[in-house]
Symmetry: C2
Subunit: 249 residues, 2 copies
């Protein structure tokens, strides 16, 4: 608790993980916070309702005050372009100053986070900018990958299995090296990287064991062996799974 907090009775900013998407896979703590929320904030693509907002929808009170944080860019500019960093940094700064102004007037704010807030989440960019100026509490959540391995109906890791979590945005050599040195693996951010990921799985002889889960724990969930998957690109909510085969009595 900062000195400022004690003096001015700032509101608390809650980074609340919503989990993989099914409303009853939210934690009891998250469910309660969202039902009682007076202020919510969430990210969304411009022109969309926002996935986090949609998950939380049935729990929200009628008079909740909403702050939609609309990404100024998503994939229009490559993330390696300095312009991308500049635009996003400015966007996060603007979001944070609004959130901080709510906190400064004593209002609690529930920030709705898909998955777990500290696991590859956009909320982290808000967090690092407000953690020293507002009281913040984080509510962890079930990750999308947990819902994905559950959907395959096979345990992900046994005994001393090593599990490596990889982004499809890594280059081919890195993917191959990592896949060679692990027992179990999760690959996210598939999208346009599907061809490269398949190549890495083939060259490390792991292609035939891979599964792909689309929309884990959502109404339109599908589970397929990757070798039966005939899409050229995978939707944003897809996860590739390689199960560990470790020690078991």
């Amino acid at each position: 608790m900062t000195k400022q907090h004690i003096i001015s009775r700032q509101g608390v900013i809650y980074g609340v993980g919503l989990g993989p998407g099914a409303i009853d896979l939210m934690s009891v703590r998250a469910d309660k916070l969202i039902r009682e929320a007076k202020n919510i904030a969430f990210f969304r693509k411009s022109g969309r309702r926002g996935h986090a907002r949609q998950i939380a929808h049935p729990l929200l009170s009628n008079n909740v005050v909403e702050f939609a944080m609309e990404y100024p860019v998503t994939t229009e500019i490559p993330s390696t372009d300095p312009q991308y960093n500049y635009i996003l940094s400015d966007f996060y700064k603007t979001c944070c100053s609004h959130i901080q102004s709510l906190s400064d007037t004593g209002e609690d704010v529930i920030i709705l986070c898909e998955g777990d807030p500290f696991f590859y989440g956009s909320f982290m960019h808000i967090y690092t900018r407000i953690q020293d100026v507002c009281p913040v509490e984080i509510v962890p959540a079930i990750t999308g990958m947990s819902a994905a391995w559950t959907a395959t109906k096979m345990p992900i890791t046994w005994g001393d299995d090593i599990l490596t979590i990889l982004m499809g945005t890594l280059d081919l050599t890195q993917l191959e090296m990592q896949l060679r040195d692990t027992d179990a693996a999760i690959i996210m951010k598939i999208g346009q990287n599907l061809g490269k990921i398949k190549q890495a799985l083939r060259s490390t002889r792991r292609f035939d064991d891979a599964y792909i889960v689309e929309y884990a724990a959502m109404a339109n969930q599908t589970v397929q062996r990757l070798c039966d998957y005939d899409q050229e690109h995978a939707p944003y909510f897809s996860i590739i799974i390689l199960h560990g085969q470790g020690r078991r009595p």
Copy 2:
């Protein structure tokens, strides 16, 4: 759904993840299933109340029927000894035949699982033995590692960070190789392996960045930099965390 299920109206076996330990970090789905449970089953060490049982305690009805599955061995016999495998295999078989007998008489059984059922869990040994003979449903949960990184108040992974999950039971060379090739890391099963883990972190120059969390999300949670940790062995519920430092605007 198996043919047998349709004919005999077997009860459903639920592998229900309890999450890291705080009762309100359980999912809404798990909370409801446990409150309504007529039969529960759980693992415990001989002579203990059982950690899973203790977490679920406040939610259980007075007339719930309990099946405590007491491990015949834990660390008395090394897991590499064939005798260990034989004893455990026999133990799981006995547990499963009781669970299946409940299912066969139409009873649903809630198996209480610490953490996430498919992530290094004992439940998996029951699951593989009953999945073809009983209807089974799995409820994923917040992992202990998620609670641990939340406790450190620092995000675990950013952008394209690679996250590797390692057991302290791996040998020194494997630990070193894995730590050298990853951005973020989680190390579990620390116990007697703490000295070896520290050595691997030192030789890969990652020791100063490591945190250790004991009892994440439980009443006695502690968070320390590993270099300030003066215990020789760590308790069962301890997790070492190396945070990723990936791309962030």
